[in-house]
Amino acid sequence: MNPSEGARITVELGVPAGPPAAVEVPVGPGVQRTYWQTVGERLAHDPVTLACGFILLLMVAAAVFAPWLGLPDPYHSNSAIRLLPIGSPGHLLGTDELGRDMLSRLIYGGRLSLAMGIIPVLNALAVGGTLGLVAGFSGGRVNMLIMRVTDVFYAFPSILLAVAIAGSLGAGVANALLAITIVFIPQITRVTESVTTQIRAMDFVEAARASGAGAFAIIRTHILGNVLGPVLVYATVLVSVSIVISAGLSFIGLGASPPAAEWGLMLNTLRDSIFLAPAISLLPGCMIFIASMCFNLISDGLRGAMDVRL
């Protein structure tokens, strides 16, 4: 669940990005490439990452364009056709315990489930990224203050903190999103702070400062480009964790509420049907698993392509 918690965060800074630090990597005689071109080149030759990207793209596209796919209404229940098996005519993946079309519900479920996986990480990136940059760049007391508060929130196991916050605020998608965002902010802050502190000590930052560049200019031109890689890799892992945790919150009744189509909630309501239709009751979990695994594998691919050690 928490692949890099506790691990010391180090970064390979062999190929920094951004001018004037941009050391272009010569590949072959006379060919000059930037860092990001090299990364793109490596990713293009990584079939696993490409395949995962394709699967996720498909999932997101299906979720976004669900109303135009000609699917049956995911909320239309019909007790006459409860728990139809997979492969039934008209219901490719069968029907659930209320006779609603599973395929349609799984695709519509992607809207809420994927959003609940991605949005908390984006929010945490905005808040935690800023805090980490400020802490790392200012150092001293500001760093002390931000990082000690971060330590306190870091001292909770992620699922426990998410459950505790969501449980105290009460059930609901918004509360679940808020809870998971709060869980991820300290994690992103730590990574960003660690990388920023390392970059700040590098000669090219010193040189920029000596030539009169302001704090914002230094952050924009030198720090951001270098922080982006490691933080992106870390954030991709967090999306995979976030998908599992947010569906888990719905699973125990703290996220989406019936009749919403959401994978965790569907997994929960289908639990009573494991005797009658075991295959169907496992389908929503399958979606959570595939989505989470794709983000994990993409993170591995990015890590390799960007030469990042987390």
């Binding site: 691990a7 196991p157 426990l160 505790a164 009744g253 494991i274």
Partner: protein
């Protein structure tokens, strides 16, 4: 070394206080009065009396210090539902969670270390690829889904093992209780196993590529002696990951315990949330997070013992 130990222990105090403050604040974030959910329609005077008896009429910061004081003396208050002392409820539940947590860790860690070592030594072979793929699947696995799969396979299809509950015996060490523990333990062990396997594999690969291994080989050491050196070097990192995973497993057992109705801290937390039983909720979160803080401390100390370089910085 001693200086490092003292500093590390001292550093835990503000963290623990911070954690207690967060736990206290969390419960007071809850919309509405914690009592109103339990008391329901009562006349205003009785509600006021009850608020006073729980101390909810005082300002928040005073409530915090009063609460902290009673927590320090082991008084976690009384359950709003049953009226029983929270500490008693909590120790029973914690013992049950510990039982499956320890078994799951022992299983997950040993399997993970073996798989990781094996995979790291045979880097690049198809067996390594199989282990790595299984490990990444394990890391991404929603463990509550795995729990349901286990129930379907072992309880519904084959009927070998009970799907939920604790068994009728009061002792944890009876055959019937053990049978009830098998599936929750398997479900909980998957993630720690996968994480430890990945860490061990990466560690072993990194160590094997170091120059000192080459030097050991050149000096004619047997592969078994070299394996010992590799283990010794991988130990600190793997130890740290195992400690964190153990604490995460206990803190995150709520989902698996809910699936199996296993009467541990996670199940208790679940009940407390939906009953809005604030003293139990607060006590459970506090206990689990304090345990996490304590485990972190122990892990750091163990790590500095296993790798003296840690305490020298």
């Amino acid at each position: 070394m001693l200086y490092y130990l003292l500093r590390r222990i001292f550093y835990t105090i503000p963290i623990a206080l911070g954690v207690s403050l967060v736990v206290f604040t969390l419960v007071h974030l809850a919309p509405g009065d914690p009592l109103s959910a339990v008391v329901g329609e009562l006349d205003a005077r009785m509600l006021a009396e009850m608020r006073a008896s729980f101390g909810y009429d005082k300002p928040l910061y005073i409530q915090y210090f009063v609460w902290l004081g009673s927590v320090a003396t082991g008084d976690l208050g009384y359950s709003m539902r049953s009226g029983a002392p929270v500490l008693g409820i909590l120790t029973d539940a914690a013992a049950n969670t510990m039982a499956i947590g320890v078994l799951a860790s022992a299983l997950g860690f040993s399997a993970g270390i073996l798989a990781g070592m094996f995979s790291g030594y045979n880097h690049g072979t198809w067996l390594d690829k199989t282990v790595s793929s299984a490990a990444i699947a394990g890391v991404s696995m929603p463990h509550y889904w795995l729990a349901i799969i286990l129930v379907i396979v072992f309880s519904v299809q084959f009927g070998w093992l009970p799907a939920m509950g604790f068994g009728s015996e009061s002792s944890v060490f009876s055959w019937n209780t053990l049978r009830h523990m098998i599936l929750p333990v398997l479900a909980l062990a998957a993630i720690p196993c996968a994480v430890v396997a990945r860490t061990t594999r990466a560690c072993v690969m990194e160590i094997l590529s170091m120059e000192f291994v080459e030097a050991l080989r050149a000096r004619g050491l047997s592969e078994r002696r070299i394996l010992w050196h590799v283990t010794r070097n991988a130990l600190p990192v793997v130890l740290a990951v195992m400690g964190l995973q153990f604490a995460h497993l206990l803190g995150g057992s709520i989902l698996v315990e809910t699936v199996f109705s296993w009467p541990g801290t996670g199940y208790l937390l679940n009940l407390a949330i939906f009953d809005r039983d604030m003293p139990v909720l607060q006590g459970t979160i506090l206990l689990l997070s304090m345990f996490f803080v304590f485990t972190n401390l122990v892990v750091d100390i163990l790590q500095s013992w296993a790798d003296p370089r840690v305490s020298r910085n």
